[in-house]
Amino acid sequence: MRRNVTRLINEYDILIVGGGNAGLCAAIEARETGLSVLVVDSATKFYRGGNTRHTRNMRCAHDTATETLSGPYTEDEYFEDLMRVTQGNTNEELSRLMIAESKTLLPWISRQGVKFQPSLGGTLSLGRTNSFFLGGGRAMLNSLYSTAEKMGVDVWYSSEVIDLKIIEGMFKSATITTNGKNITLKAKSLIAASGGFEANIEWMKEAWGDIANNFLVRGTPNNKGKVLQTLMQKGIETIGDPTQCHAVAIDARAPKFDGGIITRLDCVVFGVVVNLEAKRFYDEGEDLWPKRYAIWGRLVAQQPGQIAYIIFDAPCLELFMPSLYPPISALTVSELAEKLELDKQTLIETIDKYNKAVTPGSFNPFILDDCKTEGLNPEKSHWAQRIENAPFYAYPVRPGITFTYLGAKVNRDARIIMKKDELSNNMFAAGEIMAGNILGSGYAAGIGMTIGGVFGRIAGREAASFLNKKFIN
């Protein structure tokens, strides 16, 4: 670790808050121009890089198949996908820019030492569109850190930015708690890459009400949104709705924070999902799982107690990826209800009604098959099979918040926009903290990392060119 203590009294050209994918991409780009760069991360070295640690791929446009990608993914197709998942709730200029830049992101990030592999087992549907990091997000992060440190980027761990001095849209200095002391660090430019605020339960409660107490946070406990909050107090323009986020249904038994990928459940499409009242509430077979998985976090959040139960029977047990916790199982539906502490009679009725509504069809988990129900509300439109073969299984699920969308509004230079649409002089934002510019709602796998990589690079480049121009003049 390079920890240049003698520099503490000095100032850096560029201060980057947050050492995840976005922060590191910014650091590498800026450092390449010869400027001095400091990255501060509030986590310890192991937990560095926020949610990047838990990621596994990034969605980049590409014109041809590669060693690790099974086919082309054009800019237009990418844009269509983005429009579909966000229901048009995106800044078209910025998302088109991101998609165009994503093409060069892939070779660039490979040059920084990040290695890729073909799509992982159980994720075939992403094999064409998403590039998977060899060894996952932490391996990717390790490569970026190693490259950045070799270039001379300084990194401070366990260092938290607690205040920012901003005068008329101009960043002056930051107050940083490090080694138990508060220090003032001057920099000519600031890049905020400090993530969202999903781990700040109080903030989440302001947006969602008390139900946010029942949310689980899939990633880092460090994303408290303090830098975002400070920036908001100092007059930046925000974008996005505080309740919008990437949320999926994860195992209710997962730890409150940092459970990561292994608590996810891919079995919604194979069974029925009931709430605390033992009643169904949404079409489980609406679309292929990878296209629909991101709606289930919100769906469960809207249910009483913010909990739901995926119920399926024996033949489905091995149709999906295994997960960390074994399912709760019973030899009868009534016994299962007892174990789940659901009303027995209602659960039996729900399953009976569902079973009777299932129409014959030929089951195929890989396509939108013709197994559906008739006469139910809500219907199950695909993969509907009777739940009748003991043993019966259930997974309890809760909303697992991955990251929030409310953030700093930026322009195409990743430059922060202040109130009254004025551009900040020397402040930039990249990654989760500005994801709302692209994602008004909805999510498609791997977009978060693309936002971080693309806008991280832009922020690093723009911050550097702004300073370098200033020196020349």
């Binding site: 596994r56 992982l120 159980g122 060894g135 996952g136 990928i261 292994i262 295994p322 997960s323 030899l331």
Partner: protein, 380 residues
């Protein structure tokens, strides 16, 4: 219905394991199997993905398939201090070392693995002493100090036939012991299949083993401490392994010279046995030193420190075999030859007879695991 009920009992009763390390390995594989980020790093994770439950035999197989490059530890978002505490290299190192004991033949010798360093050390000293005693008994004290030169110089101290009888019977025993261990291991890791090994799978595993394909962390090479990689373990292992093979070939060529060509040792420096043996010997000096150095520099968090004695003993024995052999070659015309020959023979004797009870077995089991993996893959 029956099938489902069987599944039910599998899900509801966690698999019983015979050791805490195996229980931990099962816990880790359940975590890793629901993550799979490390799938591209080596053979372990694709093999894991072919399973949903992990019996002792499965875990012993996976642990021996692991080449201990450490990449999955440094890449893991759930490694300690994370509460899931995922440390596959360390757990597998423990399981792997335990397998050497589990499959020892005859099984009452299994405790040799418990304090392996001490056992090998004492046994080697004992072997050297025995050879010195034999030399003295066959001749007298002068056997150790008198200058012997010309053809048959070695055999004047110990008749060739006696050497052949001693080392021949050791070889027969060692081959039997290894064979029985192989049988036990294979039966455990291939419980259900019992299939014939196809030649292309065998060839594939020979290639994977001889290139140490899976010791490169998926292309980032081995990890040592503090996120740095490339401690050259693969290179040093090649030095060691091929050095050993060359020494073995040298001995075989010498045997051929002796019986078929009637050319009797000691050989001149330009004779094949000496040339091959010297090159091999240098490999067996450089390799073990390099491996020991990287072992000492490695991230201790991923190491099973309790087995250090076994690892050290094996490296030291390989080193000594070569070292005493090379010294013998250089000083064979001096009065020290007798003693040096006794020491060299004692070390070689000890190395060979302890093969089934030393870390030597790691190569055998790992190769078998690679064969099993090639078999499994070809079925996909």
């Amino acid at each position: 219905m029956k099938v489902y009920i069987a599944l039910y009992s599998k899900i509801n009763q966690p698999t019983e394991h015979t050791s805490p390390a195996l229980t931990e390995a099962d816990r880790l594989m359940t975590i890793c199997n629901s993550c799979r980020y490390c799938e591209g790093l080596c053979a372990v994770y694709p093999a894991m993905e072919m399973r949903r439950t992990f019996l002792d035999g499965d875990l012993n197989y996976l642990a021996n398939l692991c080449h201990d490059c450490g990449a999955c530890f440094i890449d893991c978002q759930f490694a300690p201090p994370h509460e899931f505490n995922v440390n596959v290299p360390k757990t597998f190192a423990t399981v792997r070392s335990d397998t050497y004991q589990t499959y020892t033949w005859p099984s009452f010798l299994a405790p040799f693995f418990e304090r392996n360093g001490l056992f090998i050390g004492v046994f080697s000293a004992f072997s050297v002493a025995i050879f010195i005693i034999i030399f003295v008994a066959l001749k007298d004290m002068s056997a150790l100090w008198s200058v012997q030169t010309g053809p048959n110089a070695f055999y004047r101290l110990m008749p060739h036939n006696l050497m052949v009888i001693i080392f021949g019977s050791v070889s027969v025993y060692v081959l039997l012991a290894i064979g029985m261990s192989i049988r036990k291991f294979w039966r455990d890791i291939d419980k259900n299949n019992k299939q014939i090994i196809k030649s292309d799978n065998l060839w594939r595993s020979i290639k994977d083993a001889s290139t140490l394909r899976y010791l490169d962390g998926g292309g980032s090479s081995c990890y040592s401490g503090d996120n740095t990689n490339n401690d050259n373990r693969r290179l040093y292992h090649h030095f060691t392994f091929y050095g050993f093979i060359l020494c073995f070939i040298s001995t075989s060529v010498a045997t051929f010279y002796h019986y078929s060509l009637n050319i009797v040792a000691p050989y001149e420096w330009y004779d094949l046995p000496v040339l091959i043996g010297t090159i091999g010997g240098i490999g067996l000096i450089v390799g073990p030193i390099g491996l020991l150095k990287s072992k000492l520099n490695r991230d201790l968090e991923t190491q099973d420190k309790t087995r250090f004695g076994m690892d050290l003993a094996f490296l030291v024995m390989l080193f000594l075999t070569s070292f005493t052999g090379l010294i013998l070659m250089f000083l064979r015309s001096s009065p020290a030859m007798g003693l040096l020959l006794a020491i060299h023979l004692g070390v070689v004797f000890s190395l060979f007879i302890t093969i089934p009870y030393s870390k030597f077995m790691h190569g055998i089991y790992r190769f078998l695991a690679l064969v099993r993996y090639a078999q499994e893959r070809s079925k996909l």
